[in-house]
């Protein structure tokens, strides 16, 4: 069509996708304020796997990130923020669940994850989910781990913190016996900052992360999905993946 000609007149081939969807010029993008290694602040800059991925997707799909900057919020504020249209897009290692689908839309999965137990390195009592009974378990408010614990433990005390640093600190200083949280997060924390901890048991509850999009933006969902597929094809996705998780495959 004539429109396409005009757009391709710019001479950039990413702009192919632009015309097939009705997109705004820019979207507000929000992320979690700390969820290593997906998003966290280093030297005053927000960085991490999710951050690089969403920037690549925005480039690919041809929209700007509003204000030139990804916003951050407490994890439990992300979904309400999408509901109230405060944000358009959220990328924050958000697991895809049926409950959440009622109120927000998701892209195709972009990362396979699951939940793990972390305990203090010298703890020999806790080896599986069953051992958490009667113990204090730290996790984060509003996360799938919190739900998981509610459903799969009987009389564990579940302390739901707002921030992940508070979760890990609780285990390190002994106020909680264990942490249950997303496996990549627990692993990354242990391999960088938290050498006093170790993981035990298996990978509980496999989950997929999706990019969350406020309801009513079907075109945006499709554009993001297309962009994600393109990145996976052209190797850009692997490049980012290897930077943050190494090339284990």
């Amino acid at each position: 069509s004539g429109e396409e000609d005009l757009a391709s007149g710019e001479g950039e081939d990413e702009s192919n996708n632009e015309s097939s969807y009705d997109l705004e010029e820019s979207y507000t993008v929000v992320s979690d304020n700390s969820f290593v290694p997906f998003e966290f602040v280093e030297d005053g800059e927000l960085t991490g796997f999710d951050i690089e991925l969403i920037k690549a997707i925005a480039d690919e799909a041809g929209f700007e990130i509003e204000g030139g900057e990804i916003q951050t919020t407490n994890f439990d504020g992300i979904i309400p923020g999408l509901q109230t249209q405060q944000f358009d897009i959220a990328i924050a290692g958000i697991s895809i669940t049926e409950d959440r689908k009622q109120v927000i839309d998701y892209s195709e999965p972009y990362y396979e994850s699951g939940l793990k137990i972390g305990v203090s390195a010298d703890n020999e009592d806790i080896n599986s989910i069953e051992d958490l009974e009667g113990k204090t378990v730290a996790t984060r408010m509003g996360s799938t781990s919190a739900d998981f614990l509610e459903e799969n433990t009987e009389d564990a005390t579940i302390n739901q913190f707002e921030q992940l640093d508070q979760v890990y600190l609780a285990v390190e200083n002994g106020s909680a016996d264990a942490v249950v949280y997303d496996a990549p997060n627990v692993d990354y924390y242990i391999s960088t900052t938290g050498d006093g901890l170790k993981t035990v048991g298996e990978l509980y509850q496999a989950e997929n992360y999706g990019i969350a999009i406020a309801k009513g933006n079907e075109d945006l969902v499709a554009a993001v999905d297309d962009a994600l597929a393109t990145l996976k094809e052209n190797g850009k996705y692997d490049e980012i993946y290897n930077k943050w998780f190494g090339s284990e495959e």
Partner: protein, 224 residues
């Protein structure tokens, strides 16, 4: 208006589903404020009298306590006590205990000022009358000043009770399972922010209005 229509569309009945959780929150709200205030009253009496004492050391200590607590936000105190203090003293508090400590320390500083103010507000002529009858300083304090001061303390103490109940909402940040925390927890799983937060606000309003009503009745009885 549009907004009013929208208000009616919310699923207000879902609030009832979560009444047990909110009730549990209410229980902790009241528990923590009452226990916290009782301890706060003891702190307040000690430091309030410290602030009128002629003993320099007591005075300085009491003043530092009162100024630091009144000069920093309760939220900062709560976060400091729950997240920083345990690292320093290498001892962890249960959130509920931490909550009680926060309310006690905070209300203690305000109650100290109430105690000081009430004692100061008693007409100097009362002390003179007592002393001129040959009563000692302590006897004058005990039989003449304190009973009158205590009566004047009741309304501001009642007020502090209301303030402390409101302050407990901050404890949601340090995992105390009080009313606000329960509300936030429900919302983080159920995504019914309007219904739950409105219900939470109404709960607080009901408690505080009831208390101020009771307070007004007491005040009226005091001014027989």
């Amino acid at each position: 208006m549009d907004a009013i229509g929208r208000i009616l569309e919310f699923d207000w009945f879902r609030v009832f589903e979560f009444l047990p959780e909110l009730g549990k929150g209410l229980y902790y709200t009241l528990l923590i404020s009452i226990v916290g205030l009782l301890i706060g009253f003891v702190l307040g009496a000690i430091f309030g009298l410290g602030r009128i004492s002629k003993n320099k050391f007591l005075f300085v200590l009491a003043s530092i306590y009162v100024e630091v607590v009144r000069g920093t936000p309760v939220l900062v105190q709560a976060i400091w006590i729950f997240f920083a203090l345990p690292i320093i003293i290498q001892y962890n508090f249960d959130p509920i205990v931490a909550g009680i400590i926060v309310i006690a320390i905070n209300s203690g500083a305000y109650i100290a000022e109430v105690v000081r103010g009430s004692v100061d507000s008693i007409d100097k002529g009362q002390i003179e009358a007592g002393r001129s009858l040959g009563l000692t300083k302590n006897q004058t304090m005990r039989y003449i000043i304190w009973p009158q001061a205590f009566k004047r303390m009741i309304p501001p103490l009642g007020n502090q009770f209301i303030i402390s109940i409101k302050d407990t909402s901050l404890l949601s940040v340090i995992l105390v399972p009080e009313l606000m925390f329960q509300g936030r927890l429900i919302v983080s799983n159920q995504f019914i922010a309007v219904e739950i937060y409105t219900a939470v606000a109404l709960f607080y309003l009901a408690i505080t209005l009831t208390l101020s009503l009771i307070l007004r009745l007491i005040e009226r009885r005091l001014n027989y």
